[in-house]
Symmetry: C5
Subunit: 356 residues, 5 copies
C-alpha cells in the first residue's frame, strides 16, 4: 500500500512548517549540481552541501540547481533562506507524498510533479516526486531518485547553439517537463503490451494468476492516473501564463506538453476500459469452463446411471425372473443397453453438448 500513501502520520501533531522528511531515511548523501549558463558561457559544479547563498543567483545568467535527495533539512532551510521562500513551501519541498500542484509565490513558481519509473510497468511502478522552483533567473529542481533523468537536457545545454541557451529558465523547466512526460509514454507502451498479453491469456487459458495480473494492472493504472491527472490543470495554467515568470514564446511549448498530458490521460482511461472489458471476459470464461465440466459430468452420468440400473435389475436374486433363463437374455440386455446409450448420445448431439 506504501505506493498509494506514505507514512504521513509521522507528521501528525507537529507544528505547521516543521521540516520533516516522510520518505525512508537513508544514509545516502545529498548531491547538488549547480549549472550556470547564458548564451555564451556554461559552467557546472557538484556539491554535497549548500554552505552559503554566494553566487547562487545572478542577474546576467541562468542558474539551475538540481538537488538529489531531500532528507537533509539543513540543506532545505539554507535554500529557503537564500530564496526567501514561505516556510510552508519549504515544508512541501521535503514532503514527498504530495499531489502534483502549482503554487505561485511572490517571485517564484512552485511546481510539484510526479516522475514515474519502472522496469516492468505491469507489476511495479515507482512514483518519485520532482519539485521545481522557478524564479526570474533560476530553476531549482529537487528529487529523490539516485539516477539523473535529466542527462539528455544537460547535454543539449552544453551546445551553445541550442534553443535552451537562448531562452530563460521557463524554457528549461519546459524541457524537464517534456522529458518526464515522454517517459509517461514509455510506461504507457509497456502497459499496453502487458494488456495485450493479458488479452490473449484471458481468452486461451484464464487462471487465478491471470486475475491477479489484471488486478495488478488496474492498480498500476490507478496510481498512474493519480499522478498524471492533476498535471493537466498545472500545465494548462503554465500555458495560460498566469505568472510574469513565463515568457510569451514558451507558451506554445507548454501547449504541446498539455496535448501530450491530455493524450496520456486519455490513453489511461482507454486502458482502464479495456481492463474492465477483460474482467468481464475472464469471469465469463470461468463460467464457460464450469459449463464444460458440468457437461462432461452430465453426459457420463446420464449415460451410465440408467445402464447401471438395468444391470442392477438383472443382478437381483429373485427366484422367479423369467428373463434370466432366456437363451439370448444376456445379449438382448447388452443390446438394449447399447440402444439406451445411443439414444442418449443422439439427445446430447441435438443439444450440441458434444464437441463443444
Amino acid at each position: 500500500m506504501s505506493r498509494v500513501l506514505k507514512k504521513r502520520s509521522k507528521k501528525a501533531g507537529l507544528s505547521p512548517g516543521a521540516l520533516t522528511y516522510v520518505g525512508d531515511k537513508e544514509d545516502k548523501k545529498v548531491r547538488i549540481t549547480i549549472v550556470h549558463y547564458n548564451s555564451r558561457d556554461y559552467e557546472e559544479e557538484d556539491k554535497t552541501a549548500l554552505n552559503d547563498c554566494l553566487g547562487l543567483v545572478a542577474a546576467d545568467r541562468i542558474t539551475w540547481v538540481n538537488i538529489n535527495g531531500l532528507h537533509r533539512p539543513e540543506v532545505m532551510s539554507q535554500l529557503g533562506s537564500c530564496l526567501k521562500m514561505h516556510p510552508l513551501i519549504l515544508e512541501d519541498l521535503m514532503n514527498t507524498d504530495q499531489q502534483p500542484k502549482l503554487e505561485e509565490g511572490r517571485d517564484h513558481l512552485f511546481v510539484v510533479i510526479k516522475m514515474l519509473d519502472c522496469h516492468d510497468a505491469a507489476r511495479n511502478i515507482q512514483v518519485e516526486q520532482l519539485s521545481l522552483v522557478l524564479g526570474p533567473t533560476y530553476l531549482i529542481t529537487l528529487h529523490e531518485q539516485e539516477a539523473d533523468p535529466f542527462t539528455p537536457v544537460r547535454e543539449r545545454l552544453k551546445n551553445s547553439q541550442s534553443r535552451l541557451r537562448q531562452s530563460g529558465p521557463d524554457y528549461l523547466a519546459y524541457c524537464l517537463l517534456d522529458v518526464i512526460v515522454d517517459r509517461y509514454f514509455v510506461i504507457l507502451e509497456q502497459l499496453g503490451e502487458a494488456i495485450e498479453t493479458l488479452e490473449e491469456e484471458v481468452v486461451t487459458n484464464p487462471t487465478q494468476k491471470t486475475l491477479q495480473s489484471l488486478h495488478q494492472l488496474k492498480r498500476t493504472l490507478l496510481i498512474f492516473r493519480k499522478a498524471v491527472w492533476p498535471l493537466r490543470e498545472i500545465v494548462s495554467r503554465l500555458e495560460r501564463r498566469d505568472s510574469p515568470l513565463l515568457r510569451e514564446d514558451t507558451a506554445p511549448f507548454f501547449r504541446d506538453v498539455y496535448d501530450h498530458v491530455f493524450q496520456v490521460i486519455d490513453t489511461i482511461e482507454t486502458f482502464r476500459e479495456m481492463l474492465a472489458g477483460l474482467l468481464d471476459i475472464y469471469l465469463s470464461s470461468i463460467s464457460n469452463r464450469l459449463n464444460e465440466i458440468m457437461k462432461v459430468l452430465t453426459i457420463i452420468a446420464t449415460i451410465f446411471i440408467p445402464l447401471t440400473f438395468v444391470a442392477g435389475v438383472y443382478g437381483m436374486n429373485f427366484q422367479y425372473m423369467p428373463e434370466l433363463r432366456w437363451r439370448w437374455g444376456y445379449f438382448a440386455v447388452l443390446f438394449g443397453m447399447l440402444l439406451i446409450a445411443a439414444v442418449m448420445l443422439l439427445y446430447f448431439r441435438k443439444k450440441k453438448w458434444l464437441g463443444g
Copy 2:
C-alpha cells in the same frame, strides 16, 4: 445505522430554533475550558457552567472557549446571548447530526466539521462533530468527545515565541483544523493497511468473513467520505477569505489545509476503487473454488461410474453369460477397467483438470 443517521426524528414538529440535543443524553458534566492569551500573557481556566458574559470576550486579547459536551441547553443559550448569535445557529450548535458547513454571521463565522476517531479504523469509525465559532477576538469550539484532541495546540500556545501567540484567532482555528486533518491521515493509513490485509486474504483464502470485512471497509469509507467531502468547499472558502475575520497571512495556511483535504478525498476515492476491484476478485475466487470442487466431483464420478457399470454387468444373474466361465474373465475385466480409468485420466490431463 446510527452512524449514518442520528435520531433526528426527536425534532420533528418542534418549532424552529428550539434547542434540542439529538445525541444520546448522558449524565456527563459539561467541561468548559477558557484560554485568554496575547503575545505577552497566557491564562487558562476550567469551568462547568457559564454564568455570565463577564470577561468572556475582550478587545486586547484572544479568547478560546472550548466546550466539551453539548447536551445542556442552558449553557448554549447563555453563550448565544453573550455572542448575539442567530437562534438557528444556536440550534445548529446543539444538533450533532449535521453536514460539515460554513456559515457567515454578521460578526462571526460558524464552521461545522467532523472529527474522526478510531482504534480500529477498518471496523469502527467514530464521527464526532466539532463546531467552531470564529469572532474578531475569540474562537469558540464545541464538541462532545470526552478526550481533548487539542492538547498539542494548547502546549504550543503556552510557548510565547510560537506563531500562535503572534497571530489572531483565525490562525488558532487553522491550527485546530490542521490537527483534525492530520488525524484523517492516520485513519487513512489504518484503512490502507486493512485493505492490504484484505487484498492478501481475498487471493489466498476468501471466506464469507472476508466479504463482510470488505463490506465493512466500504461502509467506513462511505462515512469517511461523507464527513470529509464538504470540507473541501469549506476550506476553499476560508482560503479565498470570504470574510474580514480572516487575515491575509493566514490564507497560505488554509491553502495548505486545502491541499491536504484534497489529498484525503483523492485517497478515499482510490481506496474505494481498490475495494471495488477486491470485490471482483473475491467473486471470481468463489467461482474458481466452485470450479475446483466440480472438477474433483467430475473426475471421481466420470472414472468410477463406467467402471461400476461394468461390474454391474458381470453381476447380472443370467444363466447364459459366456464370459463368466472364461478362465481369465475376471482378470480381463479388471484389466479392462484399468484401461478405462487410464483413458479417462489421460483425457482429464489433456483438459488440464489435474494438478490445477
Copy 3:
C-alpha cells in the same frame, strides 16, 4: 407502477389550460380551512366551497387558505379568478403528478412540493403533492391528503407571542416546508432501520424474499429521491430571494431548510450505495451457499462412488475369482474400503472442505 407515474394519459388531446384532475376521482368532499391572522387577531373558519372572493384577501392581515382535496374544478377556477392566476398555473394546481417546482407569477410565487407519508417506509411510500401559492398577504395550500399534516403549525399560530404571528406569509410558508422536510427525516430513519435489518438478513439467512425487500427498498429510495431532488434547487432559489415576496429576515430560515434538504439527499445517496453493497453481498452469499451444497454432494459422492465400485467388483459372478474364496477376503475388502474413505477424508480436510 402507479406511484411512479399517474394516469396522465387522461389529459392527452385536451386543450392546454383545461382543468382536469389526474388522481382517482373520489366522492370525498373538498374541505377548505381559512385562517386570518395578524399580530393581534386570529380567526379560523371551515368551508366546503368557495362562493365568492369576499374577504379572501385583505391588506391588514395574513390569510392562509388550506384546501384539502383537488378534484373539484369549480373550486379551483373560483380561486383562480379571485387571485388572477395564469390558466396554466391553475392547471398545474389540479395536476397531482408534477415534478416539484417553483414558478414566479406577477404577484405570487407558485411552489409544488411532495409530501411523503408512510406507515412502513421500507414497503410502501405514499407521495402526496402539496401546492403553495404565496402572495403578498396570503398563502394558499392545496393537497389531497385527508389528514391535516399542519396541525402543529396551526397550534403555534394560535399563540400570539410566536414568531409566526409577527412575520409575513413567507415565514408561514417556511414553517410548512420545515414540517414536510422534518417528515423526510422520519422516513429516512425508518429506511435506515429497514436497511439495518436487511444487512443482518443478507449475511445470516439470505432468501429470495430478502432480495425482494432489497429491491423494494431500492425502489422506495428511487421515488424518495425523485421527490426530494428538485427541492434543493427550489429552496435554494427561495433563500436567494428571487422575489420581493420573500423578506430578508426569512432567508436564514430557508437556508436552514436548504441544509436539511441537502442532508436528506446526501443520506438517500448513502443509502443507495449501501443497498448496492448489500446486493453484492447477497449475490455472493448465494454463490457461497451453492459452493457449500456442492461440497456436501462432492464429499458424499467422492467417498461412496469408489466404495460402491469395489463392492460391485466383488458382486460379479465370474466362476474364477480367487479373492472370493479367501477366508478373510470379505474383511480385507471392508478394511480396504475404510482405508479409501479415510484417505478421501484426509484429502478433503487438506482442501479445507470439512467444517466449513
Copy 4:
C-alpha cells in the same frame, strides 16, 4: 437496428445540399394541407403538389402548411424557393434521420423533433420525424406518417373563440408540440405497465423470454431517451425566446411544455434504473433456481449413494460373509439403511435445505 440508424450511407459522397430522402422510397402520394386563418376567417385546402408560391404566405392571416410525405424533392425545392430557405435546411428537411434540433434562420425558426408512435410500446416503438418551420405569419410542418396526429388541433382551430385563433403561429407551434409531448406520456404509461408485468414475471417465473423482454424494454427506453433528450434544450431555448418570432405571452406555455419534457426524461431515467434493478433480480433468481436444483440433486444423491453402497456390500459373493447367514441380517440391514436416511434428513433439515 434500423430504428437506431437509418441508411445514411446513401448520402456518402454527394455534394452538400443535395436533396436526398434517406427513408424507404414509397409510392405514396405527398399530401399537402394548407390552412389559412385569422381571428375571423378559417380556410382549408388539400393539394398533392406545390405549383407556385401564390397565396402561400400573406401578412394578414396565418398559414399552416402541413406536408405529409417527404420523398418528393421537387415539393421541397419549391417550398424552399418560396420561403427562401438555406439549402442545408432544405437538405435537413428531407433527411429523416436527424437529431432533434432548433436552428435559427434569418426570418424563420427550424425545429426538428421526434414523434413516437406505438401499439405495443414495450416491443416496438416507431420514431417519426416532424420538422417545423416557423415564420412570422406561417408554420410549415413536415412529416412522413400517414395518419394525421394533429386532428384535435385542427378541430380547435375551427372554433373562432379558441385562443389559437387569437394568437400567432408560435402558439400554433406550441399546440403541436404539446400534442406530441402528451403522446410521450401515453407511451410512458405503456412502458410502465410493461415494467410492472415484468417485475412480477421476474420474481415468480423468470425464463429466457423474460430476459429478452427486459432487453427489449431497455432498448426501447434507449431509443425513447435519444428522441426526447435534446428536446429539453430546444424547448428551453423556445421559452427563453431567442427569436423575435416568439411572442412574450407564449413563453409560459413553452415553460409548461418544458416541465412536461423534463418529467418525461426524469421518468425514463427512473424506468432505466428500475430495469437495471430487475436485471439484478433476474440474475439472482437464476442463481437461486440453480441452488434449488442442486439441493434436490444433493439430497437424493446423498441419501441413496451410501445406501446403495451398503446394498452393494451385501451383494458381494464372498464365500465367508457371516452377516449373510444371520436370521435377521436382511432386516437389520434394511433398518440400518432407514437409520442412515433419517440421519441424513435431519442433517438437511438443520441446514434448512428441506422445504425451501
Copy 5:
C-alpha cells in the same frame, strides 16, 4: 494494441521540434498533388518532392496541396519554411499519433483529425491521421493513406459551376471534413449490422466466440469514440469562427458537420449501451445453459439413483430374504420402481423442470 498507441517511445529524449516520423518507415514514395484554382481556371500537377516555394501560394487563386506520405522530413521542413510554420506544428504534422485538435497559428489554422477506414468494421478499424493547414489562400492536407479519399471532391472542383470554385479554401476544408464524417456513418452502419448479428447470436447460440466478437466490437467503439470525440469541439470552434480565415457564409456548413459529428457520437454511445446490454444477456444465457444441464443431470440422477438402490437391495445375498421367494416378487419390484419413477416425474413436472 498498436491501434491504441503508436511507438511514441521513439521520440523520448529527442529535443522538442525534432522532425521524426512515428509510423512504420516505408519505402513508399511521397506523392504531392498541387491544385490551383479560382472561379475561372483549374490546374493540377503531381510531384514527388517539393524543391522550392515558387508558385506554391498566390493571392489570386486558391492552392490545395495534398501530401500523401509523411515519412520524409525534408519535404516537411521545406513546406514549413515556405509557409513559415512554428517548428512544433511541423513536428505535429509528422507525428501520426495525435489527438484530433485545432490550433491557431498567426496566419493559418492547423487541424488534425482522424480518418477511419475499414473493410470489416466489427473486426478491424484503421485509423489514419489527416492534418489540414488552412491559410488565407491555400489548404495543405497531409495523410499517410495510399488511396486518395478525396477523389469526389476533386471531381466537383473541376466543375467551374460548383460552389467550391466560387468559395475560399475554408469551404474546401469543409468539403473534405464532410467526406470524412460521411465515412463515419458508413462505419456506423457496419457496426450496427454487426451488433444486430451479435444480438441474435447471443440469444440463440452464445459461445465463447460470441463473447470475443462482443469484446472486439466494444474495443472498436472505444477506438472510434477516441477518434471522433474531440472532433465535436473542433468543428464547434470552426463554426463559431474563432479565426478571420473562416468566412461567414461557410459557418452554416460547419454547423451542419457539427450536427453530424454529434449524431455520430450519440450513436456510438447508444451502441456502447447496447453492447453492455448484450453482455448481460450473454452472461445470463450461460447461466441458463448451466441450469439446463443441471436439470438434465438432476432428473436422470434423481430418478435412477433410488431405483438402482432398490435393485441393489434385492441383489443382496442374504440367505433369508422372504421377498426373493415370492412368485410375483420380481414383477412387484419392477412395478414399484415404475411407481417411484412416475412420482419423480410428476414432482419435476410440478417444478416445471420438464419441457423447459
